[in-house]
Symmetry: C2
Amino acid sequence: MTKDGKGNSDKGNDKKAQQYGVTPQSVDFNDWYNEVVKKADLADNSPVAGAMVIKPYGSALWENIVRWLDDRFKATGHESLVFPTLIPMSFIMKEADHVEGFAPELFTVNKIGTEDLTEPYVMRPTSETIIGHMWSGWLNSYRDLPFLHYQWGSVFRAELRTKAFLRTSEFYWHEGHTAHVNELEARAEVRQMLDIYHEFCRDILALPVVRGEKTASERFAGALATYSIEGMMRDGKALQSGTSHYLGQKFSKAFDVKFQTREQKEDWAHTTSWAISSRIIGALIMTHGDDQGLMMPPNIAPIQVVVIPVGRKDNFDEMVAEGEKLAAELRASGLRVKVDKRDGVSNGFKYNDWELKGVPVRVELGPRDLESGVVVVKNRNSAEKETLPRAEAVGGMTDRLAGIQGWLLKRATDFMLDNTVNVDTYEEFKAAIEAGKWVRAFHCGDPESEKAIKDDTKATARNIPLDDAEFFAEAEEGVCVHTGKPAAYGKRVIFGRQY
Amino acid sequence: MTKDGKGNSDKGNDKKAQQYGVTPQSVDFNDWYNEVVKKADLADNSPVAGAMVIKPYGSALWENIVRWLDDRFKATGHESLVFPTLIPMSFIMKEADHVEGFAPELFTVNKIGTEDLTEPYVMRPTSETIIGHMWSGWLNSYRDLPFLHYQWGSVFRAELRTKAFLRTSEFYWHEGHTAHVNELEARAEVRQMLDIYHEFCRDILALPVVRGEKTASERFAGALATYSIEGMMRDGKALQSGTSHYLGQKFSKAFDVKFQTREQKEDWAHTTSWAISSRIIGALIMTHGDDQGLMMPPNIAPIQVVVIPVGRKDNFDEMVAEGEKLAAELRASGLRVKVDKRDGVSNGFKYNDWELKGVPVRVELGPRDLESGVVVVKNRNSAEKETLPRAEAVGGMTDRLAGIQGWLLKRATDFMLDNTVNVDTYEEFKAAIEAGKWVRAFHCGDPESEKAIKDDTKATARNIPLDDAEFFAEAEEGVCVHTGKPAAYGKRVIFGRQY
């Protein structure tokens, strides 16, 4: 084994290895994203307008995301259900704001078998309406509440310009739906779920996100209050990564979700909904990548360690067997490990391939290493290879992965803080947005002004950080950066361009 | 605590407990089924034609099914992917048999947003076509094969008369799709998956099923060979519980799934598909139930043990705390345990409720039991309660559950064997079918004759048991029970009415 990544076999493949690379992130972020998604085997375009195919590596990543969240939902007392994919068109029409928000994006089913439908169905854009309808039949007394429900599935919203994971006509998510006896309990639920999302992003995906409330014009169609977590991508744009809504009694009144109170009176339930979708994979890619490709956070990575047996033709099988032994030892510590047994591609090709796929740690094992009792280890976030005693490499792997996880969170946090500026004039505001930054500015709260800012700069109010948000939570008074009127909210609002 | 199931609290609720019961299975199997599904909180009707809502207890059961199968698919080298829910109508039209099979059942999407589509989409009835299309783009060389793919999701097939889990317009499943270099490998895959389904049914769901090949007229639309597992319900009807298809090169030729062989020639892949759907829950219900309701096989039961604290008003909280302690001990052995903490319903109501839901073991814990260091244990499949030392009850729980699992499989196997008869004349055939049995008969293999038998008796050929099937595999020669011609297949075919 040599140290320059060129092992023993076909050097002709080095050209292929180069071709396999991607446009550097620093050259064209958009091209880099699209190429990484395809070449890392995350997703592919489909023949269905706006829909993607999630490929094995992307699917394994999504499964890990689903499993963590699902465990957490269950641990906090939520129950999964399965509601139909179709919703009667008339249901969507029942809540006025909801109609307005979703009508332009609906997929309509007009025909079943040979029968033309007089009452069409829509493919769900979200399920508040049909769930409200079902709850109405299930709810009698305050004793039945709370309903703490969620489902995993896909939803459908027409998109003109699509981008894998970020904006697809069919996307994948859980939607949580809960019903409570009063506002207090409902709002506590809304907050609990936002905090779970925040914890998930920070501790598992290594994504620093800002918890905050949306301004009125950025609310979910039908909500009284919408809370979000917002992350900064490496091009400075914001990505709304999860939302939690307090719906008041709007849907419960539209769908008659009514119960007898402890005091024997009638009341309508206070409801919530919350979601994280497959676009979180877009956030992960655009937060952690570099010019070489993806960087998977170890805590969610489908493959945490890849073992590459480095042999010549006459001892390749033996090295593969040794690689499997090493993998078995690593798996015994609960790690997700893959042995790259591919024959007929060069080591250089393999190294590039796993770098592009963002596997946190690569272990190379060659015949001479075996003799000397060492292995060569390379972290995805470092340019250096290390030669280590085998036992040390194995024993230290969990700590090594934790170190990479921490490094990713710190890099992303530093990047977000470095690219967020406080501005107090509209000129500064525009210049900072143009420079690809987030701005923290006072705002009067007038939706007309928000709209004018958006038309002018393409930036929108991302959220108003909560008092206990990890970032940007300071209480402060000032005047609106746009209108000069007194500022609302008692603190600065985050503005930025968004995905 | 008393032993007759009437504890201490409100006797008035005994009436409610009776009302809570279901029509006995022996009185009306169909009513029993529909009532059990609703009252056990498995599923509910939905406002969408032919679609159901799967409620928490049903969803938890389905999740256990998904988890077991998913682990097994991964362990046998399969990878999950996610394909779009919609398929271009033109794709469905490409494989002639496929069109004919599915056209009458399709859900058609004609409109997206405000745009009327000139090229409509269908909601997938199954995904061979779009997967074939994608494979065509991914496949180059024999080195790329096999593709061992599957996805979890729902599919859509219009149904006029629906029945929860058994026949719904939207149903839930995995669909496996694999592509291979030759027929031999593809057929090995088809058989491997059938055997996994068989193992799952027998060892996990306690369902005896017959592995066999379908006759030509019962094949999947587009398959060269279809294999199924067939189970017998407690009304004597058959339920096809899983299928595995060899598709030859039909779909790969229709979608150009072509590769360069080791010998540098061009060939089309040999493909397979296989599925178990949410109807397996119907099979489970109809195989294991009794007059009181469900009987969940312990190996898949969402709740394996329910602990019922039996206290009066003044010590109920204390008994709940003791119940939680007991549950924690049981959970420490890896068991799925629920403590019924409901206040305001009688013990009798709770007992009936959990019997109806089919929880394998109930443990009652009252103040006097606590003092004496005993608990009262009742198996779902027995009328007797046992009073046991607490440590014995806890320590013996895993064996107790295994015993119930074995009892269920034996009961179902005996039932199937007792209700299957060999017949050699068409009169015997008709009489046995009329009596609700399966018949084993020789058949000439003529599809016209199968059709005539179906029109005459409503019975269809379920399958031709494989040579190594656990049941009914004997090689035998004879003449067709219907036409008198020489029998095909070299053994008797199973006929029965089906769900």
